[in-house]
C-alpha cells in the first residue's frame, strides 16, 4: 500500500488555514488595549536604560515623603529619593525578570509536554510525575528553599518563577499536543511514513503555537506579580536594585502619610499584568479561528 488513503497535506477542517482569510480581519480591541498598556511599561523600562529624572540614590534634602510635584512626578520616598526614577527602574526589573522567567519556563516545559504527548505511555507517566512534583513546589516554596541556600537574588527569583511556571506550560503543551496526535491527519501522516519529529514540526506545533503564545503572555503576567511578591517578602531582587515589590515593602509603614508611594507601584504592576493579559486575550481571539466561530455561535 504505497498510495496513502488520505493526503496528509489536505488541511483538516479545524486547521487555522480554512479560516485564514477571516482571521486577519480587523484588530481585536483587547489586543490594541493590551499592546498600549504593555507598551507603556516597556517604554519606561527602555528609557530607563538611557535616562532617568534623577540618579537612583540621589536624595533631595528635606524632601522626604513629598507628594507628586513638578520636580518629583511621583513624589519622594522616606529617604527623599525620587519615586518616578524608582518606578522606571522597577519596570526594567519587572520586564527582565518576566521575560527571563518565561524563557526558563518554556525551555523546560515545552520539551516535557511534547515528550509526554509523543513518547508513549511510559514517557507520559514519567512527565506527569515530574509535573506533579513541580506543582507541589510552587514558586514561593521553591524560592524559599533556594533563598535559604543561596540568599535572595534576582537570579534565584528568575529560576524559582521559571520552574514554578514550567509545570503549567508542560501540562498545557501535553494536553493540546495529544489532542492533535489523535487527529485523522496525524494518523494519515503516520501511515504515509512521516517520522515523529516531522509530525511535530509539520502538524503539531503549527496547531498549538497560538495556545502556547497566549500561555506565554499569561506566564509573563504571573512572573511580574511573583517578582513583586518575592521582592516584597525580601526574597527577590536585593537592594539597591529597585523593584516594585520592594518599593511597596518600604512604603507600607508610611502609608497613612504618603499613600501615593503605595498606590503608584501597585498601579504599575496592575498596568503591566492587565496589559499582557489583554494582549493574550486579543491574541487568542485573533489567532484561534475556532474561538471566533464559537463566539458567533453563542446567541442569547
Amino acid at each position: 500500500m504505497t498510495v496513502p488513503l488520505l493526503d496528509p497535506t489536505i488541511a483538516p477542517p479545524e486547521a487555522p488555514v480554512v479560516a485564514g482569510a477571516r482571521v486577519r480581519r480587523g484588530w481585536s480591541p483587547s489586543l490594541v488595549a493590551g499592546a498600549v498598556l504593555l507598551g507603556l511599561i516597556l517604554a519606561l523600562a527602555l528609557v530607563s536604560l538611557f535616562w532617568t529624572p534623577y540618579a537612583l540614590d540621589q536624595a533631595t534634602p528635606g524632601g522626604r515623603l513629598a507628594g507628586p510635584s513638578a520636580d518629583h512626578w511621583a513624589g519622594t520616598d522616606r529617604l527623599g529619593r525620587d519615586q518616578f526614577t524608582q518606578l522606571m527602574l522597577g519596570a526594567r526589573t519587572a520586564v527582565w525578570v518576566g521575560t527571563a522567567a518565561v524563557a526558563v519556563a518554556f525551555a523546560l516545559g515545552l520539551p516535557l509536554g511534547l515528550l509526554a504527548a509523543a513518547g508513549g505511555r511510559i514517557a507520559d507517566d514519567a512527565v506527569i510525575g515530574v509535573v506533579d512534583i513541580l506543582i507541589a513546589f510552587p514558586t514561593l516554596l521553591l524560592a524559599m528553599l533556594l533563598v535559604t541556600v543561596y540568599g535572595a537574588s534576582t537570579l534565584v527569583a528568575i529560576i524559582a518563577i521559571g520552574v514554578g511556571v514550567c509545570a503549567e506550560v508542560a501540562r498545557l503543551t501535553r494536553i493540546s499536543a495529544s489532542r492533535i496526535f489523535t487527529q485523522d491527519y496525524v494518523l494519515a501522516a503516520r501511515t504515509s511514513g512521516t517520522g515523529p519529529i516531522m509530525i511535530l514540526i509539520r502538524h503539531v506545533l503549527p496547531n498549538i503555537w497560538h495556545t502556547l503564545l497566549v500561555q506565554a503572555t499569561l506566564a509573563f503576567g504571573i512572573a511580574v506579580i511573583a517578582e513583586a511578591s518575592l521582592s516584597y517578602l525580601g526574597l527577590g531582587t536585593p537592594p539597591p536594585a529597585p523593584s516594585w515589590g520592594r518599593m511597596l515593602q518600604e512604603a507600607q509603614p508610611t502609608v497613612s502619610v504618603a499613600p501615593w508611594n503605595v498606590l503608584l507601584p501597585g498601579i504599575a504592576v496592575a498596568i503591566a499584568v492587565i496589559g499582557v493579559n489583554l494582549l493574550g486575550d486579543g491574541l487568542r481571539e485573533t489567532l484561534d479561528p475556532q474561538l471566533r466561530r464559537n463566539r458567533r455561535a453563542v446567541k442569547r
Binding site: G129, G245, V255
Partner: protein, 316 residues
C-alpha cells in the same frame, strides 16, 4: 476504580518520597558549611563543632538522609536551631492562625465566585457582566499584598473599624478578638482567590452554553436556567473542581504573603523568618508539610473529578 485508586496511591507515595528528597538535597547543596554560615565570623572551633553536631552535618550524608525519612514516619522533624524546640511543635503551634485563615478564604471565594462567574457568563454582552469580568481581571492583576496594604490603610487606619494587624497573644481564648484580627486578612485573600475563580467559572459556563445538549434541552422547552441546572452543572463542574484544588493550595500558600502584610503569627511567617535566619530544620519541615498538602489535594481533586465525570473513569 479500585485499580486506579491503588495506582494513584502508589503515585502519591512516590511523589512524597521525591518531594522529601528534593527538599533534603536542595537544602544540602549549600556551598560551604551551614554551621559556619550560622555563626559569627571568628567563632571558636568547638562552637562550630557543637552546631555541626546539632545540625547532624558531622555525619555521612546518606545517614542524614535516612534519619530525615525515619523522622518523617515518627513525626520527628528535628529541632529548631534557634528556639531549640521541636519543629513539629512549632508548626502545630502556628496552625490555629493559618488554617482558619486559609480555609475561610477558600470557602468565601467559592461562595462569592460561583454565582458571580455564572452571572458574568450569562450577562457577558451587557454592562453588568462586562464590569464583573473587568473587576475579576483587576483582582488577578493586583498583587495580593498591595490589596492588603490598601485594605489596612482604608479600613484600619482611616476608618478604624478593625485592627490593622497582629493576633491576640492568648490566641483563640478570646474568640472575638481573634476573629476580628482575621477579618481583613480573610477578605484580602478572598479578593485575590475569588477573582481567579470567577474567570474559570465564567469560562466553564460559556463552554457549557455552547454545547449541543443545551440547545437540545432548550428546544425541548427547558428554560435556560433549568437547562443549565439539569445538564450544565455536572458538565461544567469538572474543570472547576480541578481549579478548586489549585485554589485551596493557593489559599494555603497565600497565607505566607498575607501573614507578612498583617503581621500574623502563622505558619507562613514562621517559614519566612526561618528562611531569613537560615533555620534549616524549620524550613525543611515546613516546606515539606506544605508540599505534602499540595500533593494530597491533587489526589483528592482527581478522585472527585472521577466521581463527577464518568467519561474519565474508563481511562487509566
Amino acid at each position: 476504580m479500585l485499580g486506579y485508586l491503588l495506582r494513584r496511591l502508589g503515585w502519591l507515595v512516590g511523589s512524597l518520597f521525591l518531594a522529601g528528597s528534593a527538599v533534603f538535597f536542595l537544602l544540602r547543596v549549600l556551598p560551604g558549611d551551614p554551621a559556619v554560615t550560622l555563626l559569627a565570623v571568628g567563632s571558636p572551633p568547638e562552637q562550630i563543632e557543637a552546631i555541626r553536631h546539632q545540625l547532624g552535618t558531622d555525619r555521612p550524608l546518606l545517614t542524614q538522609y535516612g534519619d530525615w525519612f525515619g523522622g518523617l514516619f515518627t513525626g520527628n522533624l528535628g529541632d529548631s536551631l534557634f528556639t531549640r524546640t521541636p519543629v513539629l511543635e512549632q508548626i502545630v503551634d502556628r496552625l490555629p492562625v493559618t488554617l482558619p485563615l486559609a480555609l475561610s478564604a477558600f470557602v468565601a471565594s467559592i461562595l462569592v465566585a460561583v454565582p458571580v462567574g455564572v452571572f458574568a457568563a450569562l450577562r457577558r454582552r451587557n454592562a453588568a457582566g462586562v464590569a464583573v469580568s473587568g473587576l475579576a481581571q483587576l483582582g488577578i492583576a493586583l498583587p495580593i499584598f498591595w490589596v492588603g496594604i490598601v485594605v489596612v490603610w482604608l479600613v484600619a487606619v482611616q476608618w478604624r473599624w478593625l485592627p490593622p494587624g497582629g493576633f491576640p497573644r492568648n490566641g483563640w481564648q478570646d474568640p472575638g478578638a481573634a476573629v476580628q484580627s482575621l477579618v481583613l486578612p480573610v477578605v484580602t485573600l478572598t479578593i485575590a482567590q475569588a477573582s481567579l475563580l470567577v474567570r474559570y467559572v465564567r469560562s466553564a459556563t460559556l463552554d457549557v452554553l455552547n454545547q449541543e445538549y443545551i440547545r437540545t434541552a432548550r428546544s425541548l422547552g427547558y428554560s435556560l436556567p433549568r437547562a443549565l441546572w439539569r445538564h450544565g452543572l455536572r458538565n461544567g463542574a469538572a474543570p472547576v473542581v480541578n481549579v478548586l484544588g489549585v485554589l485551596l493550595a493557593g489559599s494555603l500558600l497565600g497565607t505566607v504573603v498575607i501573614e507578612s502584610v498583617f503581621a500574623l503569627p502563622g505558619l507562613g511567617s514562621l517559614l519566612l523568618t526561618s528562611v531569613k535566619s537560615r533555620d534549616l530544620p524549620v524550613v525543611q519541615g515546613a516546606v515539606f508539610l506544605m508540599t505534602a498538602t499540595v500533593l494530597l489535594l491533587g489526589l483528592a481533586v482527581d478522585l472527585i473529578q472521577r466521581l463527577i465525570d464518568p467519561r474519565l473513569r474508563g481511562q487509566a
